[in-house]
Symmetry: C2
Subunit: 97 residues, 2 copies
């Protein structure tokens, strides 16, 4: 999700991985892995990428978080139930405010 998105953004901007990683001051190979979903970017890096690509930061962060959540729930077959529990507990929390 996040991975495909940043690749798409990069290609749209006609930038090379080398250029992106230079700007973000990270190793070429590391950026490559992030773009392929082998590695998870740090929050800070996500923000920098959004800036660099003139993309919606919120949107990109959502994809990034979605990846992390997916990693947790994908191991189970009733993933949706887990998501529902979380959704409800968020509602609870907001009520409490």
């Amino acid at each position: 999700m996040f991975a495909e998105k940043i690749r798409q953004l990069r290609v749209d901007k006609q930038l090379l991985q080398r250029q992106v990683s230079a700007i973000l001051e990270m190793d070429n190979a590391l950026y490559c892995k992030i773009e392929r979903g082998d590695r998870i970017a740090k929050r800070e890096q996500v923000i920098k990428l959004a800036e660099l690509f003139d993309a919606d930061q919120e949107e990109l962060l959502k994809l990034w978080l979605a990846d992390k959540v997916y990693e947790i729930v994908s191991e189970v077959d009733n993933a949706n139930e887990v998501l529902n529990i979380v959704a409800e507990s968020i509602v609870e929390y907001q009520k409490a405010k």
Copy 2:
């Protein structure tokens, strides 16, 4: 979520933390932290707890996973959108099967 649940189960069984941690072969203090939500249990420990308390293993694992997901999405205010993204990507995946 998970924390309150295991506390409730333990109290219902009229067991002391000391007794539970002895059976699970873990430090007293560590179990205390898990029961208070300061620490996250390992999957294996969740399973043992379910057995010890005669509780539904699946159900307990769901709560445990829900906690982990909650930790990730709670940092953002549009958490539900993130959950929706994940839910959809799970649907996608199941289609692909």
